[in-house]
């Protein structure tokens, strides 16, 4: 099953590169997405399919991320078909091929059960996404791509060093080194502590770079704001959570080694710092896609904070992966529609979106309310569960700071969003031909529906999936 899920998109990517028609090629994305989502549902329903090889196992954590990746790609793929029609007349050959390959590689990240394979997969995501960010070919997108490549490859390099350190931690105490998760988890209590600590720090910094934790987030605002909207949505909702999965694995190993206190202190620090940085840069932000990028930094901070709190907050954190992915999809995709209608990303030019594009404008506003944790949307439930976890474990200061930072973000983001949505649209954009179409609006509406649904009740299969993952994290070998 793993091979099918990983290789099928890669083969489709090759086909996409071979298809000559610029108009037909984007339709390969939905085709791939439907098949991939089907396989995801199948593999989630049939636990006997989750082991493909010693190094390809879909554990409960991987299942959640795979579900998020596959679902988000499903919606983005339809949207992309509509999006590319309004984009420049440039060939989308490289774009489509890389976008489809991106799905295959993220599936590899979720399936990989070996630190080395996981590292290769995360490195490969950087390589395939660089052309996606570069799609517009403007000077600013060159700059964004360069920064993305440099910062993320340094992160990846540190991740490799951390992997070496972890391998040495077992070599040093004279046990047979292995890098499969199962093996490491079993050996965890015997690993050499100083090496394990150093390895955790390096891996946190390395994969944290890819995940967008401050202060290594510098690539993220540029890459997210320059990339085409469906790519930004995938980067934010899927790629960042793939990096989060890598951090979860290391976290799991450290928990199994009995190093919970050391690890959670670092994670809390990084999480709160990311939220502070995001809050500071969001206040007065004029570029609305950039604002969404900082919101991703904030939410990655929340995820780090959530696992830092641990215990009762774990369920909320894993749920937040799902709710954040869906909500960020709504926001980036509706922002893409607004961008196409106005030809600008700055609040200096963009006003009155709700009149110019009633549907996308309303979705953008609803997405904003959802992502800042207003009831009755999904992120409210997950953020509330994390907050509850903080108070349950007696971390009142952390909980208080968390609430305060959420408020700062709400105000900062609210100012920008309201500027975009309210007011009168400038005369020159009122009559541009762009309108909300079926392909660019329907996926966003359905996703918004999902966000609302997750806020009202969590479907039983999803709850079972999340509980499995929490239990998996808490099991001590």
């Amino acid at each position: 099953m793993a091979f099918a899920m990983i290789l099928f998109p890669l083969i489709m990517a090759v086909i996409a590169a071979a298809v000559p028609s610029n108009r037909l090629r984007p339709w390969l994305l939905p085709v791939t997405a439907i098949a991939h989502l089907g396989m995801t549902v199948l593999v989630l329903a049939r636990p006997d399919l989750t082991v493909s090889a010693a190094w390809l196992v879909l554990d409960p954590l991987g299942r959640i991320i795979l579900l998020v990746v596959s679902t988000l790609f499903f919606f983005c793929s339809f949207y992309t078909v509509g999006y590319l029609r309004h984009s420049h007349k440039r060939s989308n050959r490289v774009f489509c091929a890389c976008f489809i390959a991106f799905l295959g590689i993220m599936s590899l990240v979720t399936w990989s059960h070996h630190l080395g394979i996981m590292w290769v997969a995360i490195e490969a995501t950087t390589l395939v996404t660089a052309p996606l960010i570069y799609f517009e070919h403007t000077p600013r997108s060159i700059e964004a791509t360069w920064k993305y490549m440099v910062v993320c490859s340094v992160g990846i390099a540190l991740g490799l060093l951390g992997t070496y350190f972890l391998a040495y931690a077992s070599l040093h105490v004279g046990i047979e080194s292995t890098l499969t998760f199962e093996g490491i988890l079993q050996q965890a209590p015997q690993l050499s502590k100083p090496w394990l600590h150093a390895a955790f720090v390096l891996l946190l910094v390395g994969y944290g770079t890819k995940m967008g934790l401050a202060p290594m987030h510098t690539w993220l605002p540029e890459a997210h704001s320059e990339a085409p909207s469906p790519v930004s949505a995938m980067l934010s909702g899927a790629l960042l959570t793939c990096a989060f999965l890598a951090i979860l694995r290391i976290y799991h190993i450290c928990l199994a080694a009995g190093e919970g206190v050391f690890v959670s202190r670092l994670l809390l620090l990084m999480g709160l710092f990311s939220m502070v940085v995001a809050g500071v840069f969001m206040v007065g932000q004029r570029d609305f896609k950039r604002m969404l990028a900082y919101s991703s930094v904030e939410h990655m901070g929340i995820l780090a904070l959530g696992i830092g709190i641990g215990g009762p907050a774990l369920f909320g954190t894993l749920l937040h992966v799902v709710t954040h992915g869906a909500t960020k999809g709504v926001l980036f995709l509706s922002a893409g529609n607004i961008y196409h209608a106005y030809g600008s990303k700055s609040t200096d030019q963009v006003h009155g979106a709700i009149r110019r594009l009633p549907l996308s404008g309303a979705l953008f506003l609803a997405g904003f309310l959802a992502i800042t944790g207003s009831p009755p949307f999904g992120p409210f439930i997950s953020e509330f569960a994390i907050l509850n976890g903080a108070f349950d474990t007696g971390r009142f200061i952390t909980g208080g700071l968390f609430l305060f930072l959420l408020l700062v973000v709400f105000i900062g983001m609210g100012t920008t969003v309201l500027k975009v949505v309210q007011g009168r649209a400038p005369a020159e954009v009122r009559n541009t031909p762009y309108r909300d179409g079926l392909l660019t609006a329907a996926p966003v509406v359905i996703m918004m529906g999902l966000v609302l649904l997750l806020g009202l009740y969590i479907p039983a299969p999803l709850a079972a999936l999340l509980n499995d993952a929490v239990r998996f994290l808490e099991v001590r070998p």
Binding site: A130, K147, V150, L161, T163, Y164, P194
Partner: protein, 213 residues
């Protein structure tokens, strides 16, 4: 054997400082190429028995790090008509001092980490950490895209040195490190194709300030 190995490692440490203090890009590329040759020698010194993975590692290191990458960098320098000065964010002397501090820190930090008995007395761990830090300093204090690539290459060399401790236990994982060179190649090709003379040459400084907020 350990003596010879440590001599090589000390030379690598000195090269880091040279790379931090040199103003001509061509000279820095040469230093990094020489470092690549020394990296190729290390696997032969660390291990008593020659096995195929170790020989392969040595040959690959010399070919990639000492010949291929420096050659394409020199080509990029010529094709993209990059000015041959480094243009650091901080002066050369402060860079060297920073590098020396980083080296001292690496020695102290490595002292805290316990080693397997057969690795006692070797400078592999401190050299590795110091080289990673030197690469990091090069990377963040230089403006030009090509200088940043050189910094990345030095950082990667540091990781390669650490890999030497593991090459017998898990040769495959260590060989993954070669994939890092893929990035370097792509960076340099990117420079050649897009003529990115400086990382941010496409924007004037006023817009850079607006980007930074």
């Amino acid at each position: 054997m350990t003596n010879l190995l440590n001599t090589v490692l000390v030379i690598i440490l000195m090269m880091n400082l040279f790379a931090l203090g040199t103003s001509r890009i061509l000279a820095v590329i040469r230093i990094v190429a020489m470092q690549g040759v020394l990296l190729g020698i290390i696997p032969l010194l660390v291990h008593k028995h020659m096995t195929i993975p170790i020989m392969l590692m040595a040959v690959a290191a010399v070919v990639i790090k000492a010949i291929v990458i420096p050659a394409i960098m020199v080509r990029a320098l010529r094709d993209a008509r990059i000015k041959r000065e480094v243009e650091p964010l901080i002066g050369f002397l402060p860079s060297i001092i920073l590098g020396a501090v980083a080296t001292a820190f690496a020695l102290l930090f490595a002292g805290q980490l316990p080693l397997e008995s057969s690795h006692y007395g070797s400078l592999l761990v401190p050299t590795s950490i110091a080289t990673v830090l030197a690469g990091f300093i090069l990377l963040v204090t230089r403006h030009k895209a090509i200088s940043q690539v050189i910094g990345y290459l030095v950082l990667e060399n540091g990781i390669f040195i650490f890999g030497m401790l593991l090459i017998e236990a898990m040769p495959l994982v260590v060989e993954l490190g070669v994939l890092l060179d893929l990035f370097v190649a792509i960076f340099v090709i990117g420079i050649i194709i897009n003529h990115i003379n400086q990382a941010f040459s496409s924007l004037d400084t006023r817009r850079l300030i607006s980007l930074k907020e």
